[in-house]
Amino acid sequence: MKIVIGEGSCGIAAGAQKVYDALAPLLNGTDINLGITGCIGMCFLEPIVDLYDKGLLLKRLVKVTPEQAGVIAEAVKANDLTALKALEITDEDKGFLDKQTRIALRHCGVIDPEDLDDYLAADGYKALEKVLTAMTPEDVIEEIKTSGLAGRGGAGFPTWFKWNAARNAAGDEKYLICNADEGDPGAFMDRAVIESDPHQLIEGMLIAAYAIGAKEAFVYVRAEYPLAIVRLEKAIKDATAKGYLGNNILGTDFSCRLRIKAGAGAFVCGEETALIESLEGSRGMPRLKPPFPAEKGYENKPSNINNVETFANVSWIILNGGQAFAAMGTETSKGTKVFALTGKIKRGGLVEIPMGLTLRDVIFDIGGGIRGGKRFKAVQLGGPSGGCIPEALLDTVIDYKALSATGAIMGSGGMVVMDETTCMVNMARFFLDFTTKESCGKCVHCRIGTKRMFEILTRITEGEGRPGDIELLEELCEAIRSGALCGLGQTAPNPVLTTIKYFRDEYEAHINEKRCPAGECAALRTYVINKDACKGCTLCAKKCPVSAISGEVKQPHAIDAAKCIKCGQCKTVCRFGAVEVR
């Protein structure tokens, strides 16, 4: 019997390591193996403990606490798992995984990311072997072309085209770069892949390096992902030791070196030319295109950049054929896509599905809908470059074209679900706050334009909105979209445009009626005490920092709206639910 604990960052944050540490001593001297795996993707159930027998998953225990280690150890030692019934995953929750189709994530939560043998046992490096021994670089590019694989980082540009351009660019010295600077707030599939299946990334990159003719490769990874860096470093070391990396890989004359470069905190470095600047040790400010990186990239040499998820699909395509990949999905979007489902969702985590399902399938069927009995309002796709899609468009098919038509984008796959308590104006403001902080400052549209948009959104949420502000925002959106230098700026208006498009009434309520329909904007809230519910306990009056609440003991209290600073303390402390927000 083998016990495997899910130790991705999320699992660890949820307490997986503590569970591991509690279990380990209890299993000393037994023949029960204790191991780890990466992220299973069912973040809402972490920490997760899987029990295997002869490679078969017997039981999946969820939300395990260190205190339960004893019960688990006893049950496993006794080979009687009935006592673990209460810890087991429900059938409903199982559906979360069963309804997915996993390619990029196929090893995640299955193999031990720190063990090369585990990867090899799962057909690891077989695709590389096939490529190096039986395929020309042109064959590889052709196979990728057949698969229809498109860049999973956001723009959805055909992968084969970029590879081909880099392959055909003049020069012997070429570079392959993996963009692991997963900066979209709300997206974490790349982290999960590196933490859970680092060799998969290495293998995909090696195949790409072979295809374009690069001998040097980099993984540019966010500094905020320490565990991913550690696991990738170990994987590189192990792969090099076994001859999968370095000189004369697998005895062929293909050589490739892979290095990790840790980013230092700049979202704009997700833009490929900015990433190259950063790789070169400079400020991550985008370059003008043309020239494109395929022509002049890192050190002005032909370079190709793809993101983690893109590479994670490559070995599967080589092993199963481009046709098999292309068989999934829609006319314009092939294969599968990973989404990070978060927000006010019942079952949040990583979801990999074939293109062509609807948003409703993902959010309601797999994710179980909104938690806490609230009403669905919108789903945010594509992070700061994407948009908010309303309930009426939930049947939109997941495909690059259909999602773009809504004003949002596929993006890297962040899918943040919002309920009726989320203010859409504040949501737009949140993204513009992000964009202004992350703008590199080079071009005027992004540097000053997004700042002005942020200022306008701020005043709207603070009740200072003016007639004409919506139109002014739209005018700025158009100017920034067509005038900004790089993708960060050009797409920065999307969260604003989509919220105006689908939730214009919320903007108007803020501006004209000085009202926040979602009740989120503090400046527009009014706190009142419901006289019938108030018991006169005086707690709110004691807690109020500005003495805005008055009333006799055991008599209904009242809030002086003129004094109230809308901090919400009264509502938090009231045990009778008497404080209401209007």
Partner: protein, 161 residues
């Protein structure tokens, strides 16, 4: 203004020996330097410029571009509070307010006792556990304002013991 001559620059020797001559290593060197000194003192930036053959303007430009780099010392514990989308939707603002009130600091500041610095970050990638914060190496998820304050008090208590 310049605190030149205050830092023990010999601590940098190893890092510089390894990376100074490797092209494009400025960010790596600054990351390692920050690990050594806890922040990037001015004299260290000068030393890096000199050793890498960059102008001080370039080193300063890089050091002020990336949010990871700090030009002033931080407290004993660094609180990185995630302000990503999922955390925003799930109440990160309220958590931030509670932390600020508890420590009497604002984002980017260090508490008077020198124990905690607060830095809000774009996304820690633990969206399913939102709202999330990282204190030093540990990640704390599913925060509420009360829970965040409790965690801080526990760490403070641990330091005092």
């Amino acid at each position: 203004m310049c605190d030149c001559g205050k830092s023990d620059l010999t601590l940098l020797d190893g890092v510089l020996a390894e990376y100074a001559s490797v092209r494009g290593s400025l960010i790596t060197i600054l990351q390692k330097a920050q690990e050594i000194y806890g922040y990037l003192p001015t004299d260290v930036l000068y030393r890096v410029a000199e050793a890498t053959g960059s102008t001080p303007a370039k080193v300063m430009g890089v050091a002020t571009f990336y949010t990871q780099f700090r030009l002033t010392p931080v407290g004993k514990h660094l609180i990185m509070l995630c302000k990503g989308t999922a955390c925003h939707v799930n109440g990160a603002d309220a958590v931030e307010k509670a932390i600020c009130e508890e420590l009497k600091i604002k984002d980017g500041e260090t508490s008077d006792d020198g124990l905690f610095s607060l830095k809000t970050v774009a996304c820690l990638g633990c969206c399913s556990l939102s709202p999330v914060m990282m204190i030093d190496e540990d990640t704390y998820g599913s925060l509420t304002p009360a829970k965040a304050v409790e965690i801080i008090r526990t760490i403070k208590g641990g330091d005092a013991a």
